[in-house]
């Protein structure tokens, strides 16, 4: 195993230390800060790297390069291939009309590669590495990424290195490992980013209703109320099926509320818990999800499962709402209702609601440079450019992507600028959103929850719930 921070990280889920969570966190923090003081971390030796690019990388990560030198090198590289989820026409338009000209002015041509799923970008990186292509040889220079996908690159040692605090626009981010408030910038669903990625999108799970059919005041605020509403008006609610992340987030909300212990038990690696304990935490939510199933869209009503409809993606859920089939849908963006109404995808009567109360998960997604990048300097320049305040503001104003930088790093006048250029929240206040936000679960829970949902809900398994959970834990 290569020395350095990765080794430290992999050892963290040790258990049997009394309070593994705290010990793990301490150990991690120690490792991370120790590693920061070291020379650039080693890069996979089994790949074929371009020596010139390696030299650039080592110089840059050691802090020996002025930003001008990076800009100069980026001009020489000439292009940057940015892989990102391409399912949003708004984002595509913003990239073409704002990002591309901005980088062209710096002498860098942006090739934005729209992948249907970020996993496809990870696939390309893994495939490049599988045939020995290392730094200076691969197809992907920069990727918009988080969660499982980031974890896959981390596990395969395929990240360029800790660059986030070395780009000029790092000033907008709290990257201080000793500050708990910085965790959202330094942890990607529990995986330490170790500065190998920089925040770019700030998600908060939020739901919206069509006011014509369901007044925002009548919308459920908790899963208990959701169940009551479903029984009262059957066939008018549903949620996206896991493993789509919007579906998993819905189930996670039910779990956090149902366990009665908040999000705390779910911040640690699920592998540190006994199956019985995991089952105890998950059971209330899954029993509720099973109870409400007959009252969901397509359900058979009281006592009959029917043929419940679980849309595959968030846009499909949105279309069900727009078509009048369901009364509530959710997304990962607090401005979603506003943007949807403006773009005609949603009726003008749509309003945002606080749901689930005290369990609206927030997380960030990031820009990362793979260890196979052919144009790392151009990737750094693009990442820096995308991290500027103006870039975030224009993204906020034009396409409603929330700021991923930390507003407490802004001046008062900059903050009022943010306020001025923010889209309407359509019926809720920032304070309410912030008050009900919870951090995302540790990434290890996702696979378990998805598998339990598949067996217990989709296949309506007759097995004991504990057995279903135990099997999911083994399969993970």
């Amino acid at each position: 195993m290569p020395p350095g921070r990765h080794t430290c990280f992999r050892r963290t889920p040790t258990n049997g230390l009394g309070t593994p969570l705290r010990w793990g966190a301490l150990l991690l923090a120690a490792c991370a800060s120790a590693a920061l003081a070291l020379a650039p971390p080693p890069i996979r030796a089994d790949l074929d790297h371009d020596p010139a690019v390696i030299e650039f990388r080592d110089d840059f990560l050691a802090g020996d390069l002025a930003w001008d030198a990076v800009l100069e090198r980026a001009r020489t590289e000439g292009e940057v291939r940015w892989y990102h989820w391409g399912g949003s026409e708004d984002l595509n338009t913003w990239i073409e009309s704002v990002v591309v000209p901005e980088l062209a002015a710096l002498g860098v041509r942006v090739q934005s590669v729209r992948v249907p799923d970020t996993r496809d970008a990870v696939d390309v990186i893994l495939a490049d590495a599988a045939v020995g292509r290392g730094l200076g040889r691969g197809a992907v220079d920069l990727v918009w990424i988080n969660g499982d996908n980031f974890r896959a690159l981390d596990a395969n040692d395929l990240l360029f290195g800790p660059f986030a605090d070395l780009v000029p626009n790092a000033v907008y981010f709290n990257l201080d490992e000793s500050d708990p408030a910085a965790a959202v910038n330094l942890r990607d669903l529990g995986t330490p980013t170790l500065l190998r990625s920089i925040p770019w999108f700030a998600g908060q799970y939020v739901c919206y209703v069509d006011g014509v059919r369901l007044e925002p005041e009548d919308a459920p605020r908790t899963f208990v109320e959701l169940e009551a509403l479903a029984r009262e008006r059957p066939g008018r609610l549903t949620y996206v099926r896991p493993p789509n992340y919007i579906g998993t987030a819905f189930v996670q909300g039910a779990i956090v509320e149902g366990s009665g212990e908040g999000v705390t038990p779910f911040l640690r690696d699920v592998a540190t818990l006994e199956p019985a304990e995991v089952a105890r935490l998950l059971r209330p939510a899954f029993e509720r999800l099973r109870r409400i199933e007959p009252f969901l869209l397509g359900g058979g009503g009281d006592g009959a499962r029917g043929s419940p409809v679980y849309p595959p993606t968030a846009p499909a859920w949105e279309r069900l709402l727009a078509g009048g089939e369901v009364d509530m849908a959710c997304e990962d963006n607090i401005f979603h209702a506003s943007l949807g109404a403006e773009r005609g995808r949603l009726p003008g009567s749509v309003g945002t609601v606080i749901f689930p109360e005290g369990a609206m998960r927030v997380n960030k997604s990031f820009l990362a440079i793979p260890a196979t990048a052919s144009n790392p300097a151009a990737a750094l320049v693009l990442a820096n450019s995308l991290s500027s305040l103006e870039s975030h503001l224009s993204k906020l104003e034009l396409i409603g992507f929330p700021l991923a930088l930390d507003t407490d790093r802004l001046t008062a006048s900059q903050r009022s600028e943010v306020e001025r250029r923010s889209p309407d929240l359509r019926g809720v206040r920032y304070e309410d959103l912030a008050a009900n936000a919870v951090p995302d679960m540790h990434a290890s829970w996702v696979g378990v929850i998805d598998r339990v949902w598949e067996r217990w809900i989709a296949l309506a398994s007759d097995d004991e719930f504990v057995d279903v959970v135990a099997r999911a834990l083994v399969e993970r």
Binding site: T93, R114, P311, L320, R343
Partner: protein
């Protein structure tokens, strides 16, 4: 009664497209409105970003790039396919040899193996060979679904060519070139053109293989539409517009078939394929890849 069935079939086939045109021109079209309450042209003035067809026409949508990629790849696949399939078709049409049935079955096999199974395998092979995510990879991959169809239709065309005619010409002193120039090409051209046209369509319509071998880096109209479709609810205007663009190659083919190649493709000519039912099957089947 026949006329009734005919009109019904035609209506069932064509009418759905009318709604597609309306959907592509809608801005807001909520249930239960029969027509959009706000049309695209009414909303486009106020939109801060291009909507509907404005987006589709803008470079950001890459619709034109997608169509160009589709046409280029399909054109190349057709040329490569013809070069490979025609010699084989000639042999199958005119020669008898041991193992002919086996060869015919082998060449038909890609039709019976599900496209997904082929695509999953090709995706890995393409990575190992180093053509994943490139036009070359997609081009090679498309040859698989196109080949069986081309071989069988070209064989049917070749069967229709009377070789006694060529022999007679040679007896009268025609050179091999003359036979090719004045007999084979004029007689075979319409049939081969129809074959090539369908091969082009097959390639333009391949989705799963293109998605997996192209790794998202090769965007054809088919993969663009596939990426936009997701289960549930109504169809948004941009997806409807992409679906219309995806209909274009087929419409062009239909016009060509009806106008230019009419003599070769009416029922009487098609019935020539009847000597070989398998060939008839493939002729049309491969339009449903």
């Amino acid at each position: 009664m026949n006329a009734g069935i005919r009109s019904l079939a035609a209506a069932l086939a064509a009418l759905p497209f009318a709604a597609l045109v309306i959907a592509s021109l809608a801005f807001r079209w909520t249930w239960p409105d029969l027509l959009p309450s706000t049309w695209w042209w009414e909303a486009r003035g106020e939109a801060r970003l291009p909507i509907g067809w404005d987006y589709v026409a803008s470079p950001a949508a890459r619709a034109w790039v997608g169509l160009a990629t589709t046409a280029t790849i399909a054109g190349a696949v057709t040329v490569v396919g013809l070069a490979i399939a025609w010699p084989a078709a000639r042999v199958l049409a005119h020669e008898r040899f041991r193992g002919k049935a086996v060869v015919e079955t082998l060449l038909l096999a890609p039709l019976l193996v599900p496209e997904l199974a082929i695509a999953l395998g090709l995706a890995t092979v393409a990575v190992q060979v180093g053509v994943a995510g490139s036009w070359w990879g997609v081009l090679l991959a498309h040859v698989v679904p196109v080949l069986p169809y081309l071989v069988r239709t070209l064989a049917a065309v070749e069967v229709g060519f009377d070789r006694d005619l060529a022999d007679a010409a040679r007896v009268h002193g025609a050179s091999a070139w003359d036979v090719l120039r004045y007999l084979r090409l004029p007689l075979l051209a319409p049939g081969v053109a129809a074959s090539a046209l369908f091969a082009f369509l097959v390639s333009a319509h391949v989705v799963v293989v293109t998605v997996l071998v192209g790794q998202g880096r090769v965007e054809t109209t088919a993969t663009q539409l596939f990426a936009r479709l997701g289960g549930g609810g109504a169809l948004d205007p941009i997806t409807a517009a992409f679906a219309l663009l995806m209909t274009l190659p087929g419409l062009v083919a239909l016009v060509i078939l009806q106008r230019v190649l009419r003599s070769q493709t009416d029922v009487a000519a098609v019935s020539r394929l009847a000597r070989d039912p398998g060939a008839g099957a493939d002729r049309t089947r491969t339009l449903t890849p």
